[in-house]
């Protein structure tokens, strides 16, 4: 309640940024110039982008106090729908395919919302079920194999190939979605209602806010953004498969880490973006230094544990959790 923030407050609030700076510094010192090379940076930006977009989507639904465990499948679905549609000889409009992906995955979000809000199934169960169902359908559709097609237009990989100001389009897209998400959550009414419903749904109902509508918007927005993330992912790997995409746990991790930034436990876009960047730097940096892939997992886990415990100790009862039930 004091006017000035104490040093420990600053440490807790900016922990994520501090770690980001320190980790980058360590890689630069250990890796020398190679770490700052163009390819390395572009690699980092590319992997930040897909994971980051999925994180932005998850941040929206997390803010509403709900959970979406189907982000992994939503991301895969976004990629598969786009790729499979374009396999067809008569279907060669890339923008239309992307639109279909986003709309169909958005519908998946609507199903999540109906299960959670109408049937009152806790969202983590509903979305887990949805994830399995849609995952199975995707496998059926693709014969459970990696799909690649010569039919695909050049536009399919344009996000990754084309650069503006030497930075790949995919990263600009990520930035645009993040800024859009930030404005949506922080500056619009609906965004404020999403955040408020996540904190105290009763209070919202009492001032006449339609909580179910607000949460439905959050579910659909999350799914649509994540679906677009899937399209981005497909452009990076230039193939689609029913078993690849962004890992659910990675998505949850960055939102969790991000929630510790500035807002002391509330999922927020700025934190999610930073966390996505940190993850990309960690994994690319460690690979660059010749460390095994799983070294990243260990570090990432430690960072989460430290950041979350710091908040738990500082402010009791404001942990970045969603209620499961």
């Amino acid at each position: 309640m004091s006017e000035k923030a104490s040093i420990s407050d600053i440490l807790v609030n900016y922990f994520l940024l501090i770690v980001l700076v320190v980790v980058t510094a360590v890689f630069i010192i250990a890796g020398g110039k190679g770490f700052l090379s163009g390819t390395m940076l572009i690699n980092i930006l590319r992997s930040t982008s897909t994971l980051g977009v999925v994180g932005v989507g998850l941040t929206v639904i997390w803010g509403a106090g709900e959970m979406d465990f189907s982000i992994g499948t939503e991301c895969t679905a976004g990629a598969v729908i786009c790729g499979m549609l374009l396999m067809n000889d008569n279907f060669n409009s890339y923008p239309l395919a992307v639109l279909c992906s986003v709309v169909l995955v958005g519908l998946m979000g609507l199903c999540n919302a109906l299960l959670t809000l109408k049937l009152h199934i806790p969202s983590f169960i509903a979305t887990l079920g949805m994830s399995t169902i849609v995952g199975g359908i995707l496998k059926l559709w693709t014969n459970n194999s990696v799909v690649y097609s010569k039919n695909w237009p050049d536009a399919f990989t344009a996000f990754t190939r084309v650069s503006i100001l030497k930075i790949p389009v995919i990263f600009w897209l990520f930035m645009a979605i993040s800024i859009g998400g930030y404005i949506f959550l922080e500056k619009t009414r609906t965004g404020r209602y999403i955040g408020s419903a996540g904190i105290n749904a009763t209070a919202c109902k009492q001032v006449g806010i339609n909580v179910n509508k607000v949460k439905t918007i959050a579910f659909v927005t999350c799914a649509a953004i994540v679906g677009f993330g899937g399209v981005m992912y497909a452009s990076v790997v230039n193939s689609v498969s029913p078993s690849s995409g962004v890992n659910v746990l990675d998505g949850i991790c960055i939102v969790l880490m991000g929630a510790t930034f500035l807002k002391g436990g509330q999922a927020n876009i700025l934190g999610t973006v930073l966390a996505a960047l940190l993850m990309a730097i960690l994994s690319n940096g460690l690979t660059f230094l010749g460390m095994p892939e799983y070294a990243k997992d260990i570090l990432q886990g430690i960072i989460i544990a430290v950041a979350v415990s710091a908040i738990a100790i500082k402010k009791k009862g404001t942990l970045p959790t969603v209620s499961f039930g």
């Binding site: 009492q206 006449g208 339609n210």
Partner: protein
Amino acid sequence: MGEEAVLRVKKLTKRFAEFTAVDAVSIDFYAGEIHAIIGENGAGKSTICKMISGSYTPDEGEIILNGKEACFKGTAEAINAGIGMLYQERNLIPTLTGAQNICLGCEPKHGLMMNEKGIIKIAKELKEKLGINVPLEKPIGDLGAGMQQTIEIMRALRTNPQILILDEPTASLGEGEIEPFLKFVVELSKQSNIAIIYISHKLEEIFKISSRISVLTDGVKTLEAKTADIHPGKVVSAMLREKKIQNVTVSNSAKINEEALLKSKGAFYDGKNHSVPFSLHKGEAIGFYGLVGSGRTEWAEVLFGLRPAKKFDFIYKGKKIDKIDTHKMIKDGVILTPEKRAHGIFRNGTLIFNITTLFLDKLSTQKMGILKFKKMKKFGEEVLRKHGVKHTDSQQTIAELSGGNIQKIITGRSIELDDVELLIFDEPTIGIDLGAKHEIYIKIRELVESEKKGVIFISSELEELIAVCDRICVFADGNMIAEAVRESFNKQQILDSAIRGKASGETMKEVG
């Protein structure tokens, strides 16, 4: 009556299952008046207001606003129609600022985005209009309860309501915050031509600020008068209910000469010192009476180890208790049945499961703790039979039973504990029918008279305490403030003491 009422409720009725919470209540509310509604716990005060504010739909009756019949589907419609309500629970978003909370639900827009400056402007104008001083640009979570309360009222006033409902607004306020708050309410009703509905069970408060008082008793309006025309005594007698409670035979069985089973002086918990001085002997049932928030349950939770206490002075069976934990208390023969039945059961568990969970030490093998299912079933069925629980199958889930039968299971299994000597029943009869209530009264007397156990019976129904208990301890503001003995129980004086927070009347012994 010269002027027309802004809001009239006519024959308003609301039922919950078989229980009628509000029974054909008609009241008129006038602009510029503070109309207080007073009544005991569960008298239906909040239910009426929730119907007016659109949270509940009435089962019968009409709500007439400005001469037109209104039927609100949800709080949003009621707000638009000019009804603002402040609920008992604080309902703010702690991360938002005062101004943002005030405008929550109808933020001004700037194109697609919210207009933050507009939000602050609205809040500031409101603040100036009311002439109060509250910080508007700080997150609410950093403010005290009084400030939060004021901000919540500002939120209710933002839409310029014709009617403002305040549901127990002073319940969550600290000592120093109540006075300024009451002043603010009086000022508000004078300044703006709002009809204020003020729900409270604090007699002093309502006589200080209201211009009209309605009394509710068991969902029925028993008195309506101008405050100037009546005196507190009349209100208290209107609050008394004439309930038919079958006689319970009580024979004096207490072993007063023996050492007390439990001697309590007081304890320090929830950041305050609480004085609860009484002693309970074997073969005695004492009642804890008080209004909502009077601290009966809290004290029981401290004794039972559910609520942490820094200091406490309890002597149990002649020994000073130096450390409380629930497991140990049960081992020592103390058991508490919780106020909310739902806290005492495993909803999806079978009857057997619910009964035997307390006794697994006895019903499993000594070393490995492997459960003996046959023994469990036998034991469970015995408890069901002994306590007359109406059921179809011992393997059915407990949630399928009626409240009365669930309560029988909770009390029944507690009684079956080995060497149990002190039983605390917290509101065991709430929401169950008369027959089931009576069985519980008889059980309590049986426990104290033939088994020589000590019982603490916490209840908000004075009648049942009077029917069953040897003594009644009256609680107010977290302390025990007065005591009455069976020979001279006087309903009116007990209720009066609870409302005034001090012993009033010659039959009440002041304590503390």
